[in-house]
Amino acid sequence: MRLTFDDTKPIFQQIAEMIEDDIVNGVLKDGDQIPSTNQLVAHYKINPATILKGFNQLVDSGIVYKKRGVGMFVADGAFEMLRNRRISQFQQQYIEPLIAEAKKLGMTKEEIQKMFDSYER
């Protein structure tokens, strides 16, 4: 979890994204319990309704599920689902800006390729 929020998006959305990040990074695994509303309210000092809104967004997309009276848990297959979603966004979020910047700088395809290659192990 991150320790603070930024101004760019609604807080409930940032809450949902933090949990998603933790799942993608492997901090939270399928079946793990996610932090409780109380814990998050205490930590971030935000309205509990805001946190519930973020959680509900995750429930709606099938990433977490509610166990009555117990808490919220990471759904089976959540990692795969998020991984696939992020891969499909990868081009738009990372490749497109990369190409745009490279064009501005007048870089050739070969130059970019060379950079990529230097990361290969």
Binding site: D7, K9, P10, N38, A42, Y44, K45, N47, P48, K53
Partner: protein, 287 residues
């Protein structure tokens, strides 16, 4: 306990001055509201009517259809906390207990725990408390009374930053354990906004906004990019503020963007506007 608080066409006139103008406002209970307004906008007057400290010149304030004015049953469940200096010779704990006599849900253990947390001394005269401690005492009474409708009208004024953080923590914790309607009037918008579920903005005696915080803040978008592109994008929109730096322009737009518009903004940077910025632009004087 209650379902809805309603201001029904409420006006308040003091001497020749119209303080509140035909206010109609409906508030769902068991939420935390932020009440924002500039100095003299009518925040305290609005809250005084709800607390029955004053009577409306016309219209009425009602809870589930029952007028609050001089209604004893409702009054024991509505508490109005302001940071005022009290010239009271009674000792702190005795004074708190006196106020508790009118509060059926008052929790003595919680009051004691709060006093410890705020380091509020029990055995000194109320009138001798420092500013910060006076604030703390009001806050202790406000929280421990556990009233169904709890109003804090800039109750934190005398508190320093660490004490305010304690106050925010206690409000949220106790609200979770004992859900109730909490109205926080404040000028410290960016410090407190994340606590609000609803936002009420009053300006020159009129209600400008009464909405969920998220719904309200999603109405403001800042658009940044090359001047011509930003200008083209903002045609026909309400622009609250514009800033130009070199070839780049930032425009604050009021009004929700459709998905189609967001697509069209491709290449422009879109960001949310903070509550504070929206507030400033919605309550500035006409030039």
């Amino acid at each position: 306990m209650y379902n809805v608080i309603q201001f029904e066409d409420v006006s308040l006139q003091l001497k020749n001055k119209q303080i509140l103008k035909n206010i109609s406002l409906s508030l769902e209970t068991n939420k935390i509201y932020g009440l924002l307004g500039r100095n003299g906008a009518g925040k305290t007057s609005l809250l005084s009517l709800l607390a029955s400290f004053a009577q409306a010149t016309s219209g009425r304030v009602a809870i589930d259809g029952v007028s609050v004015f001089e209604n004893e049953n409702l009054m024991e469940n509505i508490i109005f906390i302001r940071d005022i200096k009290l010239d009271e010779s009674e000792k702190v704990w005795k004074y708190i207990k006196q106020t508790a006599a009118f509060r059926p849900n008052f929790d003595e253990d919680y009051a004691k725990a709060l006093m410890q947390r705020f380091r509020l001394p029990e055995d000194v005269a109320v009138s001798s408390l420092s500013r910060g401690m006076m604030s703390a005492m009001h806050v202790v009474i406000g929280l421990a009374s556990r009233c169904a409708i709890t109003i804090f009208d800039e109750a934190y004024l005398g508190m320093d930053a660490p004490a305010r953080v304690k106050f925010y923590e206690e409000v949220l914790n106790d609200y979770m354990e004992h859900p109730r309607t909490i109205i926080l009037s404040t000028h410290l918008i960016s410090e407190m906004e994340s606590m609000f579920e609803g936002v009420i903005i009053i300006d020159q005696g009129e209600i400008v906004i009464n909405e969920d915080l998220d719904t309200f803040t999603s109405r403001g978008v800042s658009v940044t990019g090359p001047i011509e592109e930003v200008d083209a994008f903002t045609i026909g929109k309400t622009v609250l503020k514009e800033q130009v730096l070199g070839n780049t322009k930032q425009a604050m737009v009021y009004g929700q963007l459709s998905e189609e518009e967001k697509q069209r903004a491709n290449g422009l940077q879109l960001a949310q506007i903070t509550l504070q910025e929206l507030f400033i632009h919605l309550t500035k004087e006409e030039s």
